[in-house]
């Protein structure tokens, strides 16, 4: 029909779709799913790093980490707002998270064992996230694209901060260097898995590409990430824990070893080291805050009633 045609034309012309525009239900549903998953990831992602705020080893690092975790909360906020423009309320989105219906990035189901993990999360996890997200800054849905532009700016700031903090630690004591290496060993493979299953096994990708929601395939993004990260690791002086990782002169890209997709699916399916705990913490914070939200609502209602009475 005409609406569909108009929509397709806009997509083809790389124009933005805006909230008030007509859009196919599947497009709307896919976007809500993707944006809210991203929002949930930001919120759940506050936990592994938040875990170290109280013990940050200098006041400067404490402030940087607190600001970073706060930024993640802010990203959650923008993204929930973007999802709300598609007609789903934040309460509905949170409910889906809390009941386990909605997913979030599996990477946040790994624990942060050392202070070095905080730096490595900044460097690798945020690095991978940026790789994933930069293309979305050009995505077809206007509010999402605009939120991503802002988020990507902040994420790359975090990524540089993470790398810088690792540089300092690598100039420190031998124990510090060992801890950074240990953190890299543990995070490397889960980070590679963040880009999602290999293209051959990936569903939804083609439609996502067609709609301008997805711009690059999982494997393309993963390759770009590996190629960008290898020289950074060399600068840091850490070893990436993959004996098969090497430059392929022919492809002009790095080859890398096989990812353990069984582990990836285990974690996606709720059996990672911290899945239950991350969700339980989130639900508890939400439930414990119910009375506060109720109070704010009750007060606002009273204020409205008072204003009406005065106006009358």
């Amino acid at each position: 029909d005409a609406l569909q045609t108009r929509f397709d034309e806009k997509i083809d012309a790389d124009q933005k779709i805006e909230p008030q525009d007509w859009m196919p239900e599947a497009y709307r549903r896919t976007l809500v799913r993707q944006i809210s998953q991203h929002a949930h990831s930001e919120i759940i992602g506050m936990q592994p790093e938040g875990n170290w705020i109280s013990r940050a080893p200098s006041l400067k690092r404490k402030a940087i980490l607190l600001a970073k975790v706060q930024d993640e909360g802010g990203h959650g906020l923008y993204l929930y707002s973007a999802a709300e423009t598609l007609g789903t309320s934040r309460d509905q989105l949170l409910d889906a998270l809390h009941t386990g219906k909605a997913k979030y990035s599996s990477i946040f189901n790994y624990p942060t064992l050392l202070w070095a993990d905080v730096g490595v999360i900044g460097w690798l996890v945020d690095g991978a996230a940026i790789m994933n997200q930069v293309p979305i800054c050009r995505c077809s849905y206007g509010p999402y694209a605009r939120a991503m532009i802002r988020i990507c700016k902040e994420e790359s700031f975090h990524q540089r901060q993470g790398f810088e903090s690792l540089m300092v630690q690598m100039r420190g004591t031998p124990e510090q260097r060992a801890m950074v290496q240990d953190a890299v060993n543990r995070w490397w493979w889960p980070v590679l898995a963040m880009f999602g299953p290999p293209d051959a096994a990936s569903t939804n990708s083609a439609q996502g590409m067609r709609w301008g929601i997805k711009r690059l395939s999982n494997d393309e993004l993963r390759q770009k990430f590996v190629d960008a990260t290898v020289p950074q690791a060399a600068i840091l002086g850490v070893t990436l824990p993959d004996p098969d990782l090497k430059w392929n002169e022919e492809r002009q890209q790095h080859d890398y070893g096989a990812i353990d997709w069984d582990e990836f699916w285990e974690v996606v399916n709720g059996n990672g080291p911290c899945n239950k705990e991350r969700l339980a913490n989130r639900v508890k914070a939400h439930d414990d805050g119910q009375w506060v939200r109720d109070a704010a609502q009750a007060y606002a209602a009273k204020q409205r009633a008072r204003a009406l009475k005065e106006a009358a």
Partner: protein, 248 residues
């Protein structure tokens, strides 16, 4: 006598008191990060913690210069023990109430009582003879104005919200008000009347009763703390102390 020694400085004791106040409350409030009752509040509390940690850093840096002997902001924050800390006892208490291990009413009431005090304190300190401290006061005053408005708004919202929120807030007030007695052991009795004004005015709007202070005077400012400071510091300082030669 060199230039630094001849310029006017606030006492080390006063600077550490102000710095410890900011750090300890900043550390406490950061416990809400990721656990707030609503995302906007999570972010607001983290913001205020950041302000406080920033104030603590400026104050410790200044204190480190005054004290000399190789002190730094981090040696003062991470390598002093609980009995060296000079913060008000109020600020080290956990967010716990009889109802809950982490009660937002306790957080809001404390922030309100303390920010009302600091609003007046920083205002006065802008006129300090110690130019550096006066500068810190000016910057902190802008921040504390927001802290005061934020906690005052929530105090009223909670006091005049639901029956439960009213009860929790009144309970938090009853629990914490006695600790404010320590504010007046400082050298600023002149702040008492304006503070009473700020407090009474907000309580009235919130429909809350001001409890009469009847309890032994806390002595955090002289280094005699409650049972709660040592565990807070144990956690905060653990990593820095485990690796004293590390670079961060």
């Amino acid at each position: 006598m060199n230039a630094v020694a001849s310029s006017v400085h606030a006492s080390l004791k006063q600077l550490l008191h102000l710095a410890d106040n900011a750090l300890v409350l900043g550390q406490r409030n950061a416990e809400w990060c990721g656990n707030g009752p609503v995302l906007e509040e999570d972010i607001a509390l983290a913001n205020m913690s950041l302000d406080l940690i920033g104030q603590a850093r400026m104050l410790y840096q200044h204190a480190a210069t005054v004290s000399g002997g190789g002190a730094s902001e981090d040696s003062l924050a991470y390598f002093r023990n609980a009995d060296d800390f000079r913060n008000f006892t109020l600020l080290e208490l956990p967010h716990a109430s009889a109802t809950s291990e982490r009660d937002y009413a306790v957080t809001i009431v404390r922030n309100f009582l303390y920010s009302a005090f600091m609003l007046l304190q920083w205002e006065a300190l802008q006129a300090s003879n110690d130019a550096q401290l006066a500068g810190i006061a000016g910057k902190s005053l802008k921040e504390v104005r927001y802290h005061f408005r934020h906690s005052r708004d929530w105090l009223i919202r909670l006091g005049d919200g639901t029956t439960e929120s009213h009860q929790r807030t009144q309970a938090a007030l009853n629990q914490l008000m006695p600790y404010t007695a320590e504010f007046w052991t400082s050298d600023r009795p002149a702040l008492r009347a304006p503070w009473d004004g700020l407090v009474n005015d907000a309580l009235k709007e919130a429909g809350l009763l001001r409890p009469s202070v009847q309890a032994s005077l806390p002595h955090g400012k002289t280094g005699q703390h409650s049972d709660h400071l040592a565990p807070l510091l144990a956690d905060m300082q653990s990593l820095a102390r485990a690796h004293p030669r590390a670079l961060w």
